[in-house]
């Protein structure tokens, strides 16, 4: 492991853990989905409102779990708020690329570690050290998987 444990628990991650953004729920017709990590019991439920132009107009999360899973959900919600589904797809794939998982097809979907800090994934870039802690990658992707599942309920807008 080249990263130290302090790299995993950066201040910004603890801040999102202690003061999660966009906490709460939305009423139907918001799409929702729940993701669960059976290994540790972490859970996240997500609600997403999408307008007729395929723009994410609101996103809310609720859940319980470790700092990584909960902070990652909070960071994701701030990143995706107001994004079009096409933009969200790019963010989604770039995040997975940062963690060394998933398939990327274009340059804009691949996370560039040399780019200025915060320019690609905002606060969520603080999670890039998770890649060095393989057992925690599932924690970091939990909320993102819930988001993907929520959109998957309607194949027309699926990522």
């Amino acid at each position: 492991m080249t990263e130290s444990i302090e790299d995993l628990y950066k201040e910004i991650i603890l801040d999102h853990y202690r003061r999660p953004r966009n906490r709460g729920s939305l009423l139907p017709p918001a799409r929702n989905a729940c993701a669960y990590n059976p290994l540790c019991g972490d859970e996240i439920t997500i609600w997403v409102d999408i307008d007729e132009n395929d723009t994410i107009t609101d996103i809310k999360l609720d859940g319980k779990g470790c700092a990584i899973s909960q902070a990652s959900g909070s960071m994701m919600s701030t990143l995706l708020q107001g994004k079009s589904l096409t933009e969200a797809r790019t963010v989604f794939l770039r995040f997975k690329s940062m963690l060394g998982i998933g398939k990327n097809k274009t340059d804009i979907e691949i996370f560039d570690p040399e780019a200025p800090a915060g320019s690609q994934l905002g606060d969520a870039e603080a999670l890039k050290s998770v890649r060095q802690f393989p057992s925690r990658v599932k924690c970091a992707t939990l909320a993102w998987n819930a988001f993907e599942e929520a959109l998957g309920q309607d194949t027309a807008v699926s990522l």
């Binding site: 492991m1 130290s4 444990i5 302090e6 995993l8 628990y9 603890l14 290994l39 540790c40 019991g41 972490d42 319980k64 779990g65 470790c66 700092a67 990584i68 802690f133 057992s135 925690r136 924690c139």
Partner: protein, 410 residues
């Protein structure tokens, strides 16, 4: 008190290694213990010099392997004080032992409306097979509740046992470390005509077992938590019941005759040992039993109680209200398992921070979700000790917790 640990630690090569450039502190023995060179050497010797399939070919290696495998069975019979050697059935693990009992008992004597009584501190291995058999037979699963300090509510147990067909209970909780009054529960079950099924997975590594004194009907445990290899477990059952219930898995070895109409089963214990069994693993388990018996369960228990007392004192004096330890506060009522939560730090985060200090603990629900719900928590951190752990290692654990407190600002 570190005399025992310092004397035998060199038997465990893995305890000499480093993780993240610091010495390994292995406190995840409740999940799986480490194994001494004696066990590794016995399995190595079997594969190098003696291996062949058992109970088959009339050749030297086949005879040597059969002899070693059956000696292992005798060793286990002595270890649990079984009245007869054929009452020892080798399985893959404790989970398979309970699946065998549940499946075979289910087909033999459970039917719609029957009550299966399970304690609220069971591992999923002694819960899920019962749910599965309940689904198949129409029987229903009922729960023995716990007291607020994590012990079996005996009064409730006494009231619930009459009328139940099965009473499934763990001898030692894998989460709380609680040592249950299993003889009393089994006596009540026997008096009421219920079949008792005891999970001894966390008992066998730490305390002597006497199935006759416990008065149980079935008892299961696994090899890898008691210095033995993975892939080998044990089911002990009373002859009368093992004879009565149908076989679990079908295949070679468990039959007497197969013809175009069907099959007849082999006598005990082979009736329940279908296919080629884990031969080297059985030999490894027998060696582990010798190893533990040589050290002595009195010495093991004394060492673990000392260590548990030290840990309780050290953690509560260092962290006060920040640390919440679950289960009985009386260390004489628990084995070397310590489940806790630390401030608002999630156990998963704690485990990562401790790992960076070389300390291996378990974080999560420990395959005991009904118990987690009873405790009102999502997860706990669990440090579980064995006779090779030392006070110095407890100090490193405490130091790791200090570091976690620093990082999370609690």
């Amino acid at each position: 008190m570190t005399d025992l640990a310092s004397r035998i630690r060199q038997d465990f090569p893995i305890l000499q290694r480093k993780v993240h450039n610091v010495p390994l502190v292995y406190l995840d023995n409740g999940a799986s213990s480490q194994r001494p060179v004696q066990v590794i050497a016995a399995m190595d010797e079997h594969y190098r010099m003696h291996h062949a399939n058992i109970h088959r070919g009339a050749h030297t290696l086949g005879e040597e392997s059969t002899q070693a495998y059956e000696s292992a069975r005798e060793k286990v019979a002595g270890f649990v004080n079984a009245p007869a050697t054929h009452e020892i059935i080798f399985t893959k693990n404790a989970t398979e032992a309970f699946n065998l009992v549940a499946s075979s008992c289910g087909r033999f004597f459970l039917s719609e409306g029957d009550r299966i009584l399970v304690s609220a501190m069971e591992h999923h291995a002694n819960i899920v097979p019962w749910f599965m058999v309940a689904e198949q037979t129409g029987a229903k699963v009922d729960w023995i509740p716990l007291t607020s300090d994590g012990q079996i509510d005996l009064e409730a147990a006494h009231a619930l046992i009459p009328g139940a067909k099965i009473v499934a209970c763990t001898a030692v909780s894998n989460v709380l470390g609680t040592i249950n009054p299993i003889a009393e529960i089994c006596a009540k079950a026997r008096e009421s005509g219920a079949v008792s099924v005891v999970d001894a997975a966390q008992l066998a590594p730490h305390l002597p077992i006497d199935v006759q004194a416990l008065g149980c009907d079935f008892l299961g445990f696994t090899g890898h938590k008691m210095c033995g290899p993975t892939g080998i477990g044990v089911l002990w059952g009373r002859t009368e019941l093992l004879d009565a219930i149908p076989p679990f898995l079908g295949g070679g070895e468990m039959i007497e005759i197969v013809d175009f109409e069907g099959f007849t089963t082999a006598p005990l214990p082979y009736k329940f040992e279908a296919g080629t069994m884990p031969i080297a693993e059985a030999i490894g388990l027998a060696t582990a039993i010798d190893y533990l018996t040589d050290i002595g369960f009195d010495a093991i228990r004394k060492h673990e109680v000392d260590l548990l007392g030290t840990t309780f004192d050290m953690l509560t004096s260092a962290f006060g209200d920040k640390i919440r330890i679950y289960g009985p506060q009386d260390i004489n009522r628990r084995s070397g398992i310590l489940s806790f939560n630390f401030g608002d730090i999630h156990p998963h985060d704690l485990a990562s921070i401790l790992d960076a200090e070389g300390v291996a603990i378990r974080a999560g629900h420990h395959c005991a979700q009904p118990l987690m719900r009873t405790l009102g928590v999502q997860a706990t951190a669990r440090a579980s000790f064995y006779f090779y752990n030392t006070k110095e290692e407890v100090e490193i654990l405490a130091h790791g917790l200090e570091k976690a407190a620093d990082i999370f600002g609690i």
